[in-house]
Symmetry: C2
Subunit: 104 residues, 2 copies
């Protein structure tokens, strides 16, 4: 997982590779993942995975799958804290994606 994370540059002004760009587009193509992003982005503090499960009606396995997709697309940061996992939105990456699309 670290392999793909590295393909996006540092937190400020990330340059998206073609692969990053495609991954982000595919990640955003699933409404459920957009909902998850919205939930994560609505708070300033990292969102616990468990909190997402209370809102989204999916199994933990499915949630884990979606979170991995979002992480692979570099759209979220994933930080483990004991048993819990906290998610935060990478607004810089989202913005980089929007900037790229706007150039069409």
């Amino acid at each position: 997982m670290a392999k793909n994370t590295k393909s996006v540059a540092a937190k400020t002004d990330p340059r998206l590779s073609e692969r990053d760009f495609e991954r982000i587009a595919r990640a955003l193509a699933e409404p459920r993942r957009v909902d998850i992003l919205k939930a994560i982005g609505s708070k300033d503090t990292p969102t616990p995975c468990a909190a997402l499960l209370e809102v989204q009606k999916v199994s933990p396995a499915t949630m884990s799958h979606h979170l991995k997709e979002l992480e692979t697309a570099c759209l979220i940061d994933v930080v483990r804290d004991g048993r819990c996992v906290n998610l935060s939105l990478r607004r810089d990456v989202l913005q980089a994606y929007l900037d790229r699309l706007a150039k069409i």
Copy 2:
């Protein structure tokens, strides 16, 4: 096809329904369709379908399929002129999608 086209408001400041939003996201998830959009958007004048086929290495059937997806997502306007079909990018819809994503 007209049914879905109507769900997007007039050319200025289109309001995207949830369905529109999801359709656009799915349309953009396919790199080939993004390439097609780029080609269409790179000119100020409508792009003939045949011109796209010269660049994109897909069969006419596949091209037709992708164009339909883009049209259904309201991302392009399709105008028939005799035997030819001319495509133009709906920048207002693309921008509406970007605006919506930026609110996450």
